[in-house]
Symmetry: C2
Subunit: 652 residues, 2 copies
């Protein structure tokens, strides 16, 4: 039966693809509607957007910052990927952020941002994101808009049902998409079933500085864990994970993982498990995973390897883990603002399944089980069900909420956003998307207090929405006004990378706390200098350390002699500006690395290994003043055996 | 005297910086003007922009594609920088593009795009861009929107007065910003004067396939060469380069390179030099520079090192090179659509200097010289002058043209665009920019036929124009409607990277030629497979080659056993889709490289070196269908000494 649906799904998907090739979507360009939409998304010169939107970059590995309603991108925050623009992942200070147990990795696949919360409302301190491929969670400061910390997740693979936070940011949660042998070992792939395991990881977040530490991992059956969301309000203390491939197939999952009519949403009572481990429960397991922390005071990241992790067998903690049957390979797993409803969107279904938290508690209390999976109780489907949304669409994926009793679910196959009412389960509106929407986002939509003015649909297929750019093009987002009864499509805007999910908040939550400069008197970088008069060059064997200053519009020192082929030259550049928006950049010809872009008050280090005798220039890469073009210097490189002494000029 | 101006400049610059901190720029949000601007930049869902704009990314190293009037970014084309999003500079196929004489370099600083021309009009075949730091010129296809070729420039440093093309794309021209010893040698920096040289390089472009080859380098005096533009129409055959630091200062150039009241615009008769070298003139010099070519048929780049370059002493070719005195450190050097006027913008000046091509020819004819610089005739200033624009602004930088007799010049210090008339030299309009504008761009503005509907100002300082994003923020562009008598500011949009310059063209010039897929029957990648049935795994010693297929929604093979620790595993992924906009991505856990994003019909290779025994998943990184989440596989990694044979599954 499921195979039948699957085939329909594929056929319909093909139809959508064919159908969507023609350029007929959206509003007409003329007339009142268009005019109104134009004004609604227009942010006039000198004005600012109303909301921040943080879109995942997906396979870019980075997080992008947009304004709503304009759809303009204000920053790409490098997280898991090297970023030549600023030197992230190339500079000596930031390279440690990309260290893993597999060594240095220049990339990852970033999917789900979530903003920190206090009492279930956005508090605007940090945003957490996940790395999928080499499982990691990163924390980004919403004051500096820079990555501050990355922790690797052991016993995981395809860290997809991540990173979502509990309503006081007690935990950021990561769930493995792919199950693997735990611990890893050499075994036949076709012995997957019953042997592979899925780790759901709860990472403690320090309430003061945000530092992360793995508290425990629940070692679950070898399903695929797809998405997750926290309980809130009455369901605070629980966490919900959608699963697929409960068949535990290990080949051609396209077919073999789509056999069961229902997979599960796993409900985890993390408070109970927390109590269990606080009382000495769980099993410490050897592990090897990186914990990388950027210190804003030293402007430097440090990587350490952690050697153990606490694992929990879910069958050892009675009352902590239950499985809620959910039809047709549930993908999205969303919780409404009240915490009462858990929405499971079976991606091969036409309907949306809504579970009730109260019903779940009652079913647990009454032990309404339909058996066990590897010792974990499976709750009776009808007992936990709150309602079914007869959508009329196909391929529901994700749901967000407007805080006014409405839910909005995306449908990938039928390419639309469907608005429906909580509790009546009635569809009240639907609008097409162009094309094949994945996630959607309402600012605060994953909290107790959504700001239900706009919804952003993030589409997987772009085709003709923009001027063509060859075979490869950006993905596309669409913004809808949801302040009225009916959704109104306002605008299309391209996204940078693949936007899997997004988090948004009102501009005022962050605007005042946004850092403008780094204070020089707080700069504790070991190679910083407090003033240009401290500029100098020091040799330690083959290593040469240049303590360099930048200030409009010169380097101190600006010329250096006594460098030899085979040296390793460290340019430690301190930007002595203390005005907002006066970065300087630094690049030297032939350096086998990127530039560094140095913000006011900051110190960054680039390494240059001269291989050829000669006189080689360096220069400022950021147009900083009317005399920017004059901001340059030279390094004289002599043969290895040269006796020329170190010397440097400070401009005379 | 010049020092005096310099100090005013610095003081004014400071004032602008202070002044620009407050948020009062631009149109008010309400009222008829705003409404009209909103509609003018609004491109309704389902419609497309009117113009392409290619903005340099500056220190991002890449080229970005925008639509006008909307200001939306449609693609970032990786050129000189590694791009984790697609695997550019990480995949085996593209790594050779970033090879230089200094080894592999993951970054550069990209400044000036120029679209290929035929008969002085844009022909939309290619766009050329320069790498500043490690001097290179790249050619990007305007059919695939991908980088196809990069050539390194020897004897250069800070390749800034580049890359501009002649009016039949005979040559793409590169001029060194920093002079250096030619050939490079170990010598004291303070012996710069008279010893360092500046190379101006003319690179032949094959009219059929666009391949580049250095024809000759003119070895000029040791000035700094800042910008350049070709002659056109009557001045076709000439090329003009602005210079500064004719003082030949080598330290604190901020002060020392601003002493001379006039520097020069160098006029190069490249047709005469071409004839000279075609007749055996010039000196062949040993050199070492990379020439990297991407072959669309094999989907692969190849790097070769060139070993010699033809140099020309300008004093050996009578009548080929002249110097036009130009006040106050000229930066921009622009030629009007008729080819008659050469505009020199002295960046420390209030005025704009316009030279006349006819006057120049007459002065040459009459030998109206004011002496010589290193044997090169200096033409008399008054003899070549056509007019002076009394601007009322300060710090002119760059000029573009609307094809209706008007020129538009940016002023960095007074932060404005000034519109003036050719031949009357009268200022007719001015509008502020927010803040500190560098280049500006009118589509086709560097050709005989500009499309004078919009001008885009590219601003160096952003401050409060957008929601704050910490100390680092994007730069900012502004679009003005110039179809009327007065310029009208329409919109602010952020840019990705630092937009030094841009090139634009009507959408229709490129739209029809934009490639949608790579044809499988034209895929000659040596590791491609024509169909999923050819999928296989082959071992060659420690190297394992996986011939892999992707098609919605599975990999073939999807599971692989017999891989051992210490192997070097090449995943050669062919995307067998032949529909537009159906990429698949590929990533494997722990790979020390980026993902690969594979377009329909394309083959790309990622290398994975497993270090740990276990069963490790790989997956598709681009959400490709309703069953994308099922598109995965595993690799079993056994110990180095394991006797497990290679095997793989094709889904059963």
């Amino acid at each position: 039966m499921k195979r039948f649906t699957l085939q329909i799904g594929i056929a319909l998907s093909g139809m959508v693809l064919l159908f969507s090739g023609c350029n007929q979507g959206g509003n007409a360009a003329n007339g009142a509607l268009s005019s109104s939409a134009a004004e609604k998304v227009y942010v006039a010169p000198g004005e600012q957007d109303e909301f921040y939107a943080f879109l995942s970059g997906g396979y870019s590995g980075n997080l992008t910052v947009y304004g709503l309603p304009s759809g303009r991108m204000f920053k790409e925050i490098p997280v898991f990927s090297q970023f030549p623009t600023s030197g992230y992942g190339y500079s000596e200070e930031t390279k440690p952020l990309l260290i893993t147990s597999h060594g240095f990795i220049p990339w990852d696949d970033l999917h789900h941002p979530d903003i920190s919360q206090t009492n279930g409302e956005l508090d605007g301190r940090w945003i957490f994101v996940n790395g999928n491929n080499t499982p990691r969670i990163a924390r980004v400061s919403l004051s500096t808009f820079e990555t501050e910390e990355i922790i690797e997740i052991p016993n995981s693979a395809g860290n997809h049902s991540s990173s979502f936070i509990t309503e006081n940011t007690e935990y950021v949660v990561a769930g493995t998409r792919f199950s693997v042998p735990v611990p890893q070992r050499d075994m036949p792939i076709n012995e997957y079933k019953g042997n592979f395991k899925g780790a759901l990881t709860f990472i403690n977040v320090d309430p003061e500085h945000g530092h992360m530490d793995i508290k425990f991992q629940v070692i679950m059956p070898g399903f695929n864990y797809d998405l997750s969301h926290p309980g809130r309000g009455k369901s605070h203390g629980w966490f919900f994970f959608s699963t697929y491939n409960t068949e535990e197939a290990s080949t051609l999952q396209e077919v073999n993982a789509s056999q069961n009519d229902k997979d599960f949403i796993a409900a985890i009572n993390w408070k109970k498990i927390e109590e269990y481990v606080n009382n000495g429960g769980g099993t410490e397991m050897p592990a090897n995973y990186a914990h990388n922390v950027y210190d804003e005071s030293t402007h430097m990241a440090r990587s350490t390897m952690k050697k153990k992790v606490l694992t929990v067998d879910p069958t050892k903690v009675p009352g902590a883990v239950f499985l809620l049957p959910t039809p047709k390979s549930p993908h999205g797993c969303d919780v409404d603002p009240s915490g009462q409803y858990i929405i499971g969107a079976g991606k091969l279904s036409a309907d949306i399944t809504v579970h009730s938290f109260d019903n779940m508690l009652a079913a647990i209390e009454a032990e309404k089980y339909d058996g066990y999976a590897y010792g974990i109780p499976i709750l009776n489907f009808e007992e936990v069900l709150a309602g079914v949304v007869k959508s009329g669409g196909l391929g529901p994926l994700h749901t967000e909420f407007d805080g006014k009793g409405n839910a909005y679910t995306t449908f990938f196959i039928s390419s639309e956003v469907v608005k429906w009412q909580l509790e009546t389960w009635q569809v009240v509106d639907r609008k097409p998307t162009f094309y094949s929407v994945g996630h959607l986002m309402i600012p605060g939509g994953n909290s107790r207090k959504p700001f239900g003015k706009y919804v952003v649909a993030m589409n997987k297929i772009t085709k003709d929405r923009y001027l063509p750019t060859g075979p490869e093009m950006e993905h596309s987002a669409q913004i809808y006004d949801i302040s009225g009864e009916k959704m109104e499509l306002l605008y299309d805007f391209p996204t940078h990378g693949e936007p899997h999910y997004a988090a948004g908040c009102p501009a005022d939550l962050l605007r005042q706390n946004s850092k403008k400069i780094y204070r020089l008197d707080e700069n504790n970088h070991p190679y910083s200098i407090k003033s240009p008069v401290d500029a100098r060059v020091e040799r330690e064997g083959k290593d040469v350390h240049i303590y360099m200053s930048t200030i409009r519009s010169h380097f101190t020192p600006d010329n250096i002699e006594g460098i030899k082929v085979g040296d390793r030259v460290y340019f430690h550049v301190t930007n002595h500006e203390q005005d907002f928006d006066v970065p300087h950049g630094f690049a030297a010809i032939g350096a086998n690395t990127s530039e560094i872009l140095v913000m006011p008050g900051q110190t960054k280090t680039i390494v240059w290994e001269p291989k050829q005798v000669g006189v080689w220039p360096f220069y400022c890469t950021d147009f900083c003043s009317a005399l920017h073009q004059e901001m340059q210097g030279y390094v004289r490189v002599s043969p290895t055996n040269s006796s020329i002494e170190l010397s440097w000029s400070v401009g005379e």
